[in-house]
Amino acid sequence: MIKFEHVGLRYGIGPEVLSDITFTLEQGSFHFLCGPSGAGKSSLMTLLYLGRKCSRGQIHMMGKDTGKLKRDELAELRQKIGVVFQDFRLLPHLSAFDNAALPLRISGVSEKKIKNHVEELLDWVGLGDCMKRLPATLSGGQQQRIAVARAVIANPRLLLADEPTGNLDDETSMKLMGLFEQLNKMGTTILIATHSTQILDRLPHRRLILNQGHLDIFDPNAQSTEPPKMPEFLHA
């Protein structure tokens, strides 16, 4: 599904913010991405949603070497990736419906199908009565759910979420994680960047732990796996 081979990333002529990153995400897997601030989580997420090219190494995604793809092929690949940003990044001039419909419009889906799918999904995330409202008139939690709806509307093969529970209370956070788990059961590969020890403690999925640009992998389910040295904040 996703394979990083000795990937490095630097901005301009600065030092590498990611060094020699190698890992594989299998189709239908669920992973957490953890690490302290400045560890390179956002940079790794950017590489995963193809928002940047790596400085070295190779990234294979859905069977394709991303470094060799043409612009249109990269765009086509991005359409198979859903992203939930920490700051939601909803378009303020579009209604909840139009924000959620954006990936479908980009993919060229007919307006009739868009209407059916978006209404169904917004109902599912509990925003059926807010479809015509602008993001500014909605609460943080509602905006978060629109961002999630937008990320999953096109049935992505990979879902990336950057601190999706950062602005939510515990109860809403766990509901959101439940939603991600449902999507994962339907076959979507999921990678969630999080700081939340509550979520990490409750959900025993594999963890990619970034520290100072280097990556360790920890599988809480594997008895024989020796846990890597965890950052202090994860024991708090």
Partner: protein, 304 residues
């Protein structure tokens, strides 16, 4: 004052229906762009019609003078007899269509712009006798034949073949025409920069939205179509104002030249001239959309 949800609702629907995922038309500066396009349209119409008008003027002068010659016999007692003898001989020359002595009435018509309608004063002036010749075709041999006849019939007469006038007039009008064509080209060049600048500034304003669409898998074509649509609509508005201003200027010019005394040739636009002027808005639309597309592609190319 905060906007109501109803206001938000109406405008959100309106925005999406207009086809913009990027809120291109909701920022300041849109009116300024329309104004600039209107100005460019107006200037293009003026320079194109100036070039067309000068072309007509040059053609009229050339066709009026190219096949014409004038023989001037200085005022003296035998001038009229010499004139009549010249006409008789010239009418027998092969390439001469007609030759005639200009009457006092003809001279009065020619001098009326300077002397006014009352030309009775001409009778008291020692005016030369003028013989006007209309040629079928100007050839060096015909010119030489005419000069030989004049030398033998009225040796003191002057043959004015208008060549000096013609060359100078053509130089002047062709120079002015070339200038208007250069001005036309410069305006087009500046206009394409204007479109490019407008697209670049809006792309910079909406960098965040662009990155989001890009992340979601929007192709360069999908994004560029939004900007092309925006430039197309703004250009259409600007064209409307520019054409209106151009038409008002043409009407003013037509009324103004209608009152002229007739020293300048009358300017009339032909069908092709109108087609050329009518093609200017289409040319601007093509330049606008093409420039917008190229600019968007070039900026997006900086994204992975």
């Amino acid at each position: 004052m905060p906007k109501s949800p109803i206001h938000h609702h109406i405008f959100s629907i309106a925005h999406r229906k207009s086809g913009y995922d990027i809120p291109l038309h909701t920022r300041l500066g849109t009116e300024f762009l329309v104004l600039l396009i209107a100005l460019m349209t107006y200037l293009l119409l003026l320079s194109a019609s100036g070039s067309i008008g000068l072309g007509h003027m040059a053609n009229k002068w050339v066709s009026g003078l190219e096949n014409a010659m004038t023989i001037e016999i200085p005022a003296k007692d035998t001038a009229k007899q010499q004139g009549a003898a010249l006409v008789e001989k010239l009418q027998k020359v092969e390439n001469i269509k007609s030759a005639r002595v200009l009457t006092q009435s003809d001279m009065g018509d020619m001098l009326s712009p300077w002397l006014g309608a009352d030309t009775s004063v001409l009778a008291d002036l020692p005016l030369p006798t003028l013989v006007s010749i209309e040629l079928k075709k100007r050839t060096p041999a015909t010119t030489q034949t005419i000069k030989n006849i004049v030398n033998s019939t009225a040796p003191e007469a002057i043959v004015d073949s208008h060549e000096a006038w013609l060359v100078d007039l053509l130089k002047l009008t062709n120079g002015l025409r070339a200038t208007t064509i250069i001005v036309f080209g410069i305006i087009l060049f500046v206009t394409s920069f204007l479109f490019s600048g407008a697209v670049r500034s809006r792309m910079a304003m909406h960098q965040r939205e662009l990155e989001l669409l890009h992340t979601m898998g929007a192709t360069d074509k999908y994004i560029s179509l939004q900007f092309i649509r925006y430039i197309f609509s703004q250009t259409t508005k600007g064209l409307g104002f520019g054409i209106l201003a151009g038409l008002m200027t043409f009407i003013f010019f037509a009324v103004f030249t209608n009152q002229s005394t007739g020293t300048l040739p009358e300017l009339k636009m032909g069908e092709i001239d109108w087609i050329i002027l009518a093609s200017i808005p289409f040319l601007l639309l093509v330049i606008g959309t093409f420039t917008a597309r190229q600019t968007v592609y070039s900026v997006l190319n900086e994204m992975p």
